[in-house]
């Protein structure tokens, strides 16, 4: 009693509003503000630069660039169309698949759970490359098959349209939605669904009226993730949009920056608009989630009942299989086919098939060898640094009593609002102005990766840290364990599944990354994403397909190794 009174008096002495920011909060806060703030400052000054467009920071300011941008509202409009359309379609796919896998008795659910996760780490670059050969109006494999079967000459599908772009975006981002929504579905309290069934609702009506609204926070989280990814999406619109003269903000920005003289101010102004759009989306979803999250998530662990859908099970099976075909089997199969060709058009004359393209990309072409090695180094580096940093921040925000924890969390999540291409441009300008020689080093790319993927890492580690009961640590301390011993024997073993899963996720997204590294990789720091893009740009379809298959293999091997190493209990 006396000690409580004493503590209270100390608090009173310090005052209720006294700032008590401790090292575990201010150190990462300062690092993050530096890594984000300076690039943002350079982007800001460039966006308002009406003087010499190549001056950093600018000296003459005005609004001319935004006036010019107002003549190109189609770029922003198209970006919104792709991001919104892709998100709606992706969420529809995600919710359906998550429900099928986690809430029904459909056979083969475990296999589907694994197969559905794969397209995400393969990435949009692989998706766009494959679908440009599957869905091209004249010689896409699907259209060729359609014509051969029906005799109809007009194409069945055209991937080089806004709808094609939306479809490809949605298919390759949907696994994230399955992951996020699926996790929530597994924790859901089944009582309301049971009530609905008791009151006579059918299975589909219960799913529509009860399950879906209960999942709304998870759905909104997934939607936000997809929307922000698609706003900054570069590879798919660039590779599929040229034929239909369809420009979104990122491919327009790329052209503005590639030309001579590069139009930095207009590109920066466009970048700021994108950041603002993403920030608004983040704010809106957070606002909606604040009001809803407590209503659905409880502390208890539930095992929701799985529904036998009767004859509908096979319809659901067909649906899941269709997704796996569209997102994995057909794209990878097409890339494999294309990689055996000696010309740009795919032919089925086996005698003319060759392995030369693999020999070329694996052994003869130094850029790809370097890119493979660098991507592996970056994958391991980003995974390790990102996990360490994210774990530190997660522990600081959830365990520390320091002031500023909320701010640290917000700043950590801030890169989510930066489309990666735009962040990379700001980051490039920053390292070029620094007195230390950072440009052209792998370290620069690594730092950029760690920053852009930190929200992903933090989200993963934060979810694990909050699940660990503080009582376990307290018990260890009471038993006389030092803080390091507590960390080594209690916290880290408990965090292990989360650490491994987050590490693997960071590894995979780093290996498939393109937007952030496009402007940062140098002569000795080639990485796979830009190498594939450059090959696509100037190297011919067979070789770029072979390189994409190699990249996919690296990712799949990593995925398998991590699942094997992690053993049971780790969901990667």
């Amino acid at each position: 009693m006396s000690s409580i009174a004493q503590e209270g008096s100390v608090r009173n002495l310090r005052g209720p509003n006294r700032l008590d920011i401790r090292a575990e909060v201010w150190i990462p806060l300062v690092l993050m503000i530096g890594a984000l703030g300076y690039p943002l400052f350079l982007l800001l000054t460039s966006a308002f630069n009406v003087g010499d467009p190549e001056q950093f920071p600018a000296r003459v300011y005005g609004f001319d660039n935004f006036v010019k941008l107002s003549r190109h509202l189609d770029w922003i409009g198209n970006t919104l169309i792709v991001a919104s359309g892709g998100t709606v379609l992706g969420i529809t796919i995600g919710v359906s698949l998550a429900w099928i896998i986690h809430r029904t008795t459909m056979p083969g659910r475990k296999w589907f759970d694994l197969l559905i996760a794969i397209p995400y780490p393969l990435g949009p670059l692989v998706g766009a490359l494959a679908w440009s050969q599957l869905g091209a109006p004249r010689d896409g494999l699907i259209n060729r098959f359609f014509t051969a079967v029906t005799g109809i000459q007009s194409p069945l599908i055209d991937i080089y349209t806004p709808l094609g772009i939306i479809f490809t975006e949605a298919v390759f981002e949907a696994p994230v939605a399955v992951l996020i929504i699926g996790a929530a579905m597994q924790r859901m309290d089944p009582a309301l669904e049971e009530c609905s069934t008791i009151f006579g609702s059918g299975k589909l009506r219960t799913a529509w009226k009860i399950t879906l609204p209960l999942m709304m926070p998870a759905i909104l989280s997934a939607a936000l993730f997809m929307f922000t990814s698609m706003i900054g999406s570069f590879a798919i619109p660039t590779m599929l949009g040229a034929s239909s003269r369809f420009y979104v903000s990122t491919n327009a920005m790329y052209i503005l920056l590639q030309g001579y003289p590069p139009n930095y101010p207009l590109a920066a102004a466009l970048g700021l608009v994108l950041i603002a759009m993403t920030a608004v989306a983040v704010w809106l979803v957070q606002r909606v989630l604040r009001g809803r999250s407590y209503a659905v998530i409880s502390g208890k662990n539930y095992r929701p009942r799985q529904v036998n859908m009767g004859w509908m099970t096979w319809v659901l099976f067909a649906g899941a299989l269709t997704y796996v075909m569209l997102s994995l089997v057909l794209p990878m199969g097409t890339l494999l086919l294309a990689s055996f060709q000696s010309s740009n058009a795919i032919n089925f004359d086996f005698a003319s098939w060759t392995l030369r393209n693999y020999k070329y990309v694996m052994f003869d072409f130094p850029t790809t060898q370097q890119a493979i090695v660098n991507s592996l180094i970056l994958g391991i580096g980003t995974g390790t640094l990102g996990v360490v940093f994210a774990t530190f921040i997660a522990i600081a925000t959830h365990r520390s009593t320091s002031s500023g924890r909320g701010l640290l969390e917000q700043v950590t999540m801030l890169p989510q609002a930066f489309p990666r291409l735009i962040f990379a441009i700001g980051f490039l300008w920053m390292i070029l102005t620094l007195p230390i020689q950072l440009y052209g080093t792998l370290l620069a790319v690594l730092l950029a990766y760690v920053v852009v993927f930190l929200p992903l890492a933090y989200r993963g580690m934060s979810g694990v840290v909050v699940q660990i009961d503080k009582a376990l640590e307290e018990a260890a301390r009471v038993s006389g364990a030092s803080p390091m011993r507590v960390l080594r024997t209690v916290i880290l073993p408990l965090l292990r599944p989360g650490l491994v899963a987050t590490w693997a996720l960071l590894f995979m997204v780093s290996v498939r990354e393109i937007s952030a590294s496009l402007f940062l990789s140098g002569p000795n720091t080639q990485v796979l994403g830009p190498a594939i893009f450059s090959f696509w740009d100037s190297g011919g379809m067979p070789r770029v397909s072979a390189l994409a298959v190699v990249q996919a293999l690296i990712i799949l091997i990593a995925l398998t190794v991590v699942r094997f190493m992690a053993g049971r209990g780790v969901r990667v």
Partner: protein
């Protein structure tokens, strides 16, 4: 101390002034020799042993990566000097270059670009090393910087129209640039986007040859913008695009080598062409290797090797490549007025027209 100072003052000069004067005189006397030595060093041929010690020559370029890699392999086999490459379009290369010049050193050594206007600009800013290759006389004046040795044309990028007769009948195919305005080609003509130096070169040399409203009328046909000539060529081969509005000649040769039935059209009014220029950055850390590289690239052997790999025209008359039409039968339109070619106003005008035309 005071006495000495006074003595100095008495003679009209302090010791510090004497030292300063002496230093200035030495500098003045040595300056011509220093400048001459620097010039001599710049003009001196590269030493192979020194080049090997310098490390790999870093070549920045905008060409097809596979072609450059193959050429670098041949270069290293021939000279023993290692070399690496990075594909960088001007928008990527120039900000890096700008920052590196501010820092006083460049990570790249040799720069190969499709925009000789950029080269000329770099030359005027003293950012190019003057190194006169031994075979410079093999290059006509229009294929090198006015003061030779700063930049030289390592290939002539001729830009005909291209189509595939499997998808476009020969009699229907365009014969002149004005034929591109026919509405039957709506949405079926492809150009490189405004970031390409060859697009600027095309516009620059054609703007005074074609009617003023040509670009607006062409824009009404909704031409597509591709990021590279390779992309255009691929789409033509796959039947996704009927006409390549301006395709780099080497794409045509590559397609012919792959036995694709493509046709190139060289209108009699003139074919747009650009100097693909090579130069050495003045701040190169590997001057010996860079000089040896340029020496080889511009030699008869190097020119044959490079243009054979790529399928392009050498600027040298003594190098002929199979599958290329005789260059003497073509009316090449090359940018020669570099004052105009470099002008920022012209570039801005081009970007505006080109982006509008291609729907950006």
């Amino acid at each position: 101390m005071k006495d000495r100072k006074d003595q100095g003052r008495a003679s009209g000069l302090t010791r510090r002034q004497v030292v300063r004067l002496g230093s200035a005189a030495t500098m003045l006397l040595a300056a011509p020799s220093l400048v001459g030595r620097a010039h001599a060093e710049a003009s001196a041929p590269g030493n192979v042993d020194a080049a090997k010690a310098e490390g790999p020559v870093v070549v920045w370029h905008g060409d097809q990566e596979a072609d450059v890699v193959e050429f670098l392999k041949a270069f290293t086999e021939k000279t023993g000097v290692p070399a690496v490459q990075q594909r960088l379009l001007p928008g990527q290369a120039l900000p890096k270059l700008e920052a590196e010049f501010r820092a006083g050193q460049t990570s790249g050594d040799v720069y190969l670009t499709s925009d000789s206007g950029i080269m000329e600009d770099l030359r005027r800013k003293n950012r190019l090393l003057q190194y006169i290759p031994t075979q410079i006389d093999a290059y006509a004046p229009e294929y090198r910087s006015a003061d030779p040795g700063y930049w030289t044309t390592y290939y002539v990028n001729v830009g005909p129209m291209m189509y595939d007769p499997r998808y476009v009948k020969e009699e229907e195919a365009p014969k002149t640039w004005l034929d591109l305005l026919d509405h039957k080609w709506k949405g079926q003509i492809g150009f490189q986007n405004s970031a390409a130096g060859t697009s600027y070169g095309f516009w620059f040399v054609m703007k005074d040859v074609l009617p003023k409203d040509f670009w607006d009328k062409l824009g009404a046909n909704n031409p597509r913008a591709y990021s590279s000539s390779t992309q255009i060529s691929q789409d033509i081969e796959r039947g996704g695009l009927k006409i390549g509005g301006r395709v780099s000649i080497f794409q045509y040769v590559k397609s012919v080598r792959q036995k694709q039935p493509v046709k190139a059209v060289f209108p009699s009014i003139g074919v747009p062409s650009v100097n693909q220029a090579t130069g050495i950055f003045s701040t190169t850390k590997r001057p010996n290797g860079s000089k040896i590289f340029n020496e080889y690239l511009l030699s008869k052997e190097g020119q044959f090797k490079w243009n054979e790999i790529q399928g392009s025209y050498s600027a040298r008359k003594d190098v002929q490549i199979e599958h290329l039409p005789d260059i003497n039968t073509l009316k090449l339109l090359l940018p020669v007025n570099f004052e105009e070619y470099m002008k920022a106003d012209n570039r801005r005008e081009f970007v505006g027209i080109w982006n509008k035309m291609t729907g950006l």
